[in-house]
Subunit: 265 residues, 3 copies
Amino acid sequence: MKASITGSIIGNLLLVFGASAFFGGVRRGTQKFRRTAAGSPTVMLTLAVAGLVMPAAVDLFAFGSLNARPEVITHLSVWTSWVLLAVYAAGLVYAFCNNCDPLRPAGPHRSLMSRPAALTLLTAGTLLTTIEAEILIRGLEPALKALGMTELFAGVIVVALVGNAAEHYSAVTAAMRDDMTLAAEISIGSSAQIALMVAPLLVILAPWIAAPITLVFNPFEIGAIILSVMTVALVVNDGESNWLEGLQLLGLYAILAAAFYIIPQ
Amino acid sequence: MKASITGSIIGNLLLVFGASAFFGGVRRGTQKFRRTAAGSPTVMLTLAVAGLVMPAAVDLFAFGSLNARPEVITHLSVWTSWVLLAVYAAGLVYAFCNNCDPLRPAGPHRSLMSRPAALTLLTAGTLLTTIEAEILIRGLEPALKALGMTELFAGVIVVALVGNAAEHYSAVTAAMRDDMTLAAEISIGSSAQIALMVAPLLVILAPWIAAPITLVFNPFEIGAIILSVMTVALVVNDGESNWLEGLQLLGLYAILAAAFYIIPQ
Amino acid sequence: MKASITGSIIGNLLLVFGASAFFGGVRRGTQKFRRTAAGSPTVMLTLAVAGLVMPAAVDLFAFGSLNARPEVITHLSVWTSWVLLAVYAAGLVYAFCNNCDPLRPAGPHRSLMSRPAALTLLTAGTLLTTIEAEILIRGLEPALKALGMTELFAGVIVVALVGNAAEHYSAVTAAMRDDMTLAAEISIGSSAQIALMVAPLLVILAPWIAAPITLVFNPFEIGAIILSVMTVALVVNDGESNWLEGLQLLGLYAILAAAFYIIPQ
């Protein structure tokens, strides 16, 4: 389950946004996008990194091993999950409510559905996608093992390639018709949504459904997420993208994927 | 002592600047500030991170344990402290001496006191505040232990909430009257001052007063400082703040505080 | 060999760019430079950090020790090297081919030599410099050991001071005649070139010449490179430099050099 989460986060950041910047840049040259479309999710992702790093660091340094996982780590994971959810909810409020901010005039947009309905749809849709990805991995597991892939690699790669197919298609299409702002919102926004909504909801709801899940990711997953967030933050920082920046993100994905491939189970 | 320093650094960055951005943003919407007011202390803080990381890394990887602390680590701490102090002093020269920089015209400002007097006052005031915070923690220690708090948590939380009350009040007030530049200077500047002036002075002066202090912080403190500096650097990067960014910083503080709470002594 | 690579990377970032910003800033005040001149190598360097971190992390966490170095780490190093080389090559294509990008008009520039010739010269020159630096270190080794310096310190310091003398001279000269864009291209660009071209080429060519080299750097080298890249990214981020920022980078170099000095062999 955690491998799927890691795969969705780095896949959306590196593969989806990287492919958007690459194909958009090849077709349209240097593309500009609204920095807030990329900046706010970047800060959200840094927050998620903190939420992922701290339980693992406490487990590793204070309790001696990543396998110790005493009860106290579950408490910390649940608390961290509530904080991440609260900040994510505040981000939705900020995004929906243009009029909250006197400096940014509300555009003349008509909503197709009410806000509560939109929110419910958003939450249900994303949770369903994650569960579907998990089912997909379980189904593919015998085949993947026959090919010599570990569960970690399967989670990170299969989810990134298959589970996020919708994000891939819509983000790359948006980038190629020069709407890089939308491409950044889809890819970086999806990544933040997984990290700040799906992962925390799974931690909070897991005890009611199955065994408790903690936010204790392994050092490779944490390292891969930190590197992905840092690199994307640098790339989106100037509000421009080009095919080289896209290729750089795809290159980072190739390096991380190779490392995940050789990690023994 | 080190817990108070960590608490002051992350408290000023996350709680004080976060609360300023939040309350300022709720009252005034998106607020702009001079990027140099926040940018230069951010680089200063990265330097401080290097000064904190390197002695701990040498101790941990080259000498085997964070408790080894041989004489050589004291030498490294003292050298690092002199470098940090020198760079901080250069920062004061840069700030005081507008005319050094031909591109930035000097404003028509009258000083109420001479520069040496101002500098002495600044140094004495900050050192006194730190010592007062330490006395406060010692006094509160029995009460805090009765409440089940470790010394580390007490240092990080009590100092951040009580010891920096003055910064809190003045920064939030400045933000609410739309002077976000001043709020950033107070909060991020205080944080840099603790990291590059107070901590090094304590390391250098300690042998004359009590037992030697080294700059060897534990992995949690280092992790918390790195995450705080990175997140604030991302937030101030665009020269704007809003209530969501304030809330994100407060959320990071809540996650870090929970992790410090459960770390065993 | 690896110490020379680390020394070249952090030396170019901190010493060469730091000295350029410092002396340029003292003479000319705040200097502006084209952000793309600094931004693109910064992302390149983050990619290189990923390439350096992942093999070491796999070796350390999955195989138990940085000395294990099984065959699989060599495979990962070679794969990572090809990815870094491919991205670096794409960067050269991007830089040479202005017309690829419809938004950036090609300037009226005449080339003194053909592109393939220029590329061959560039590659050969940089590889030769690295080999010369290695020969220099080997020659100086007895003298350095007599002075109590470890091979690691000698590599990091001698290369940074002596091996990059050409970059030093030309970057500082460029900065002092107010061409900070060129100074950033020379210093940060050289650093990226070492990390994404020289180091990967050594890894790929080593088995044909001598013993295989892996990209497994020790934790200090990785820490020093990460801190250097992060700090330079923050400094160049606003497209301006001044003498204080130069001094901050030189201060970081002084802290890192001291840590390398006391690390036992």
